[in-house]
């Protein structure tokens, strides 16, 4: 099963790396190259041309929008990078949304960017690209350490085609988490229908994150859409990159009736929560027996003693959506070479493996052998290998997702 998926991905990677030999595209660059000829830069000459310049720049600033990756970066990645290249990194955990607004405002004020590499949420990519703050570099093919990227993940985020200017550093997966203290493995719900039956039998024991307040809920909603929307015309725009908000709104009105009918019943018997953490806390408290989760966050929580090890994860048989977050280099950076070198380092085998171990964070690198990288006790904190990646689906178009969330708020929450 796994092989079947990996082969086309590997092929895609081969094509990508073949393309990468060509010089970077000839369009105008929106970034101050600082003595670097971007037009002749390829993944082949990347290290030899970037490294000396980067060392000269000596330092860079790195924004991280997550809270959970801070130990990975601070205690592991940055020391290794500094040791290897002698370049110091100023690490700043930020609120991603606010940081994007700041960068847009800075650009509007024609100020340089305060940051050189930005680990940005996929949900913010569209805003960032359209705000003109992303350097238009083809990172999907340029980085020598990542020749095998899943090119879908590397060029599209939530249906928005950015063409490779944001490189996928981290992949994650929404799933169902259940506490084996209350639900034995094997008897857990495996389909949306079984889940509804369980919720009806055990009122308020199923915790679902409010889709507009947390991705585990949004992902669950999208997975339900993938499952319940059968009409071909309605399915067509799922991965269409050119849906605009009014079209999405019309789609939500026309196509979501079966989905909303399902959630109407489910929500009546479920506890809708205020965020991803909120759902995990309810499961940890024993107040909920089963709920919507992010695989990596649950992995992380278990490592911190915030989620009992009796909790297991699974993907519903109809598939559940996964996502990821990427690295971008701001157009206003003054340290392009250092930024490129650091980005390349973050995509290397070494760091991608470390990230999986520490955070349960998956990789968009298709040739990394994950099974071999993990200790068994850590592997037990991840989704079973027979379900991931086979039941993983990409997230649908972001505008559709927003429109669906609004429908959910109006039809399910407002009436609740």
């Amino acid at each position: 099963m796994k092989k079947i998926v990996l082969i086309p991905l590997g092929l895609a990677a081969l094509v990508a790396s073949a393309l990468a030999i060509e010089p970077v595209n000839n369009a105008e660059f929106n970034v101050d190259a600082g003595g670097l000829n971007l037009k002749t830069l390829t993944s082949k000459n990347f290290l030899s041309r970037i490294t000396p310049l980067a060392k000269k720049q000596a330092s860079l600033t790195f924004y991280d929008f997550t809270e959970s990756f801070s130990p990975l970066f601070k205690d592991n990645v940055l020391p290794r990078f500094e040791k290897k290249y002698g370049i110091s990194v100023k690490y700043l955990p930020v609120d991603g949304a606010v940081a994007v607004q700041q960068l847009i405002a800075a650009k509007k004020a024609t100020q340089p960017s305060p940051v050189d590499v930005f680990f940005i949420s996929n949900g913010q990519v569209e805003t960032a690209v359209e705000g003109g703050i992303v350097a238009n570099l083809p990172l999907n093919t340029l980085l020598p350490s990542a020749p095998d990227l899943n090119q879908t993940a590397a060029t599209v985020s939530r249906g928005f085609a950015h063409g490779g200017v944001v490189v996928p550093f981290h992949r994650n997966q929404t799933a169902i988490g259940y506490n084996t203290r209350f639900i034995a493995t094997g008897s857990e719900p495996t389909t949306f229908e079984e889940l509804l039956v369980y919720a009806k039998q055990n009122p308020k024991r199923f915790a679902m994150t409010n889709p507009s307040k947390g991705g585990s809920g949004g992902g669950f909603l999208e997975s339900a859409i993938l499952n319940f929307v059968k009409d071909e015309a309605c399915r067509k725009p799922f991965y269409d990159k050119k849906v605009d908000p009014p079209q999405a709104e019309k789609w939500a009105t026309d196509c979501l009736a079966p989905v909303m009918a399902y959630f109407k019943e489910l929500a009546a018997n479920a506890e809708i929560t205020n965020g991803n953490t909120d759902t995990l806390t309810l499961i940890a408290n024993g107040a909920a027996y089963i709920g919507t989760i992010w695989e990596d966050q649950a992995y992380d929580f278990m490592g911190r003693g915030l989620l009992p090890t009796t909790v297991k994860f699974r993907l519903l048989k109809s598939g559940q959506v996964g996502d990821g977050d990427g690295l971008m280099i701001p157009a206003g950076t003054q340290k392009l070479a250092a930024a490129l070198l650091f980005t390349n380092f973050l995509l290397s085998d070494e760091i991608q493996a470390l990230k999986l171990e520490l955070n349960g964070s998956r990789s968009a690198r298709t040739t990394l052998n994950i099974a071999k990288l993990l200790k068994p006790e850590n592997a037990a904190r991840l989704l079973p290998t027979d379900q991931y990646p086979s039941l993983s689906r990409p997230r649908i178009n972001g505008d559709l997702s927003s429109a669906a969330q609004k429908r959910f708020t109006q039809d399910i929450l407002q009436g609740k």
């Binding site: 607004q101 929560t273 940890a284 107040a287 927003s402 708020t409 407002q414």
Partner: protein
């Protein structure tokens, strides 16, 4: 003539540092917001040009309209709840009792606790599966749902927890300012200490009580962290919509429109207060 001119010049010179500062650093973002709410200014991309679309959305979309009502519900109810708790506490701590100094310092602690911490404390204590429900379950008792509940009881508790000390402080100050002679006079005329409190001290401290109530009300219209973390999933108060639209959807115009509507509501409440208390302040105010 010259003298009057000189005097008004020195008056304005005195006012410039404080009032001038606010005029610049408060007035300009406010102007930006007002322009933004009608599409004439924006912080990210280019401004769309004059439009009332944001106000229309804000005042017709049921999600936002419910948000406005919910904001008012939270502010009004939590303010009344605070007042209900603060008044007897204020009355009691006017008396002397052992440990008064310590109490007077400790009760103010929630003043400095950020809302997000208050929400966290509520969560650990009364969320489903939190410590109190666990303890109640051991005793074989049920525990009401106070988090994510329809009436937002947990939110009200959290907000009141934060504002009660402020009220006690302001109302206590107003009560302490009531001359002791007047209270003693009431006692000589046959009032019990409770009657003297209710019939003399409270009415005389009324300006302080209403001021505290208003300040708490106005402050609570902007409460974000507590309702966001422990409130019901629907409706969301305007403050939460403002954050979501500002940072997740980049809808500055809509945020500005919401901010304007919210400010206007608070201002109306304040103006009503002034109108109602006009006579009272004239009667007790100073001559000059």
């Amino acid at each position: 003539m010259n003298l009057a001119w000189k005097r008004s010049l020195s008056l304005w010179l005195l006012l410039i540092p404080g009032v001038g500062y606010l005029l610049v650093f408060f007035g300009s973002p406010l102007a930006l917001a007002l322009l933004g709410s009608v599409g004439l200014e924006t912080i990210g991309t280019d401004a769309p040009g004059f439009t009332l679309q944001y106000y229309r959305t804000m005042l017709t979309d049921r999600i936002y309209l419910d948000g406005l009502w919910f904001t008012l519900y939270l502010s009004t109810t939590s303010t009344l709840l605070s007042l209900l708790v603060a008044l007897p506490i204020t009355a009691l701590i006017q008396q002397s009792f052992p440990g008064q100094r310590l109490f007077n310092t400790l009760y103010k602690v929630p003043l400095v606790v950020p809302g997000v911490v208050a929400a966290f404390l509520v969560l650990t204590l009364v969320d489903r599966g939190g410590l109190l429900p666990r303890a109640f379950e051991r005793l074989g008792l049920g525990f009401p749902q106070l988090v994510r509940d329809r009436l937002a009881l947990g939110v009200l508790i959290g907000m009141a927890w934060k504002s009660v000390p402020f009220m006690v402080l302001v109302i206590g100050g107003a009560m302490a300012a009531v001359p002791k002679d007047v209270l003693a006079a009431a006692r000589t005329l046959g009032a019990s200490s409770w009657q003297a409190f209710l019939k003399v001290q409270v009415p005389l401290a009324l300006p302080g009580i209403t001021a505290a109530t208003l300040l708490v009300f106005i402050g609570s219209t902007g409460a974000y962290a507590i309702p966001n973390l422990i409130g019901p999933v629907y409706p969301l108060p305007l403050s939460v919509h403002m954050y979501q639209n500002a940072f997740e959807r980049n809808q500055w115009g809509l945020v500005a429109a919401m901010g304007s509507v919210l400010s206007l509501t608070s201002s109306l409440v304040l103006l009503a207060y002034y109108q109602l208390t006009k006579g009272a302040t004239n009667a007790s105010g100073k001559g000059v």
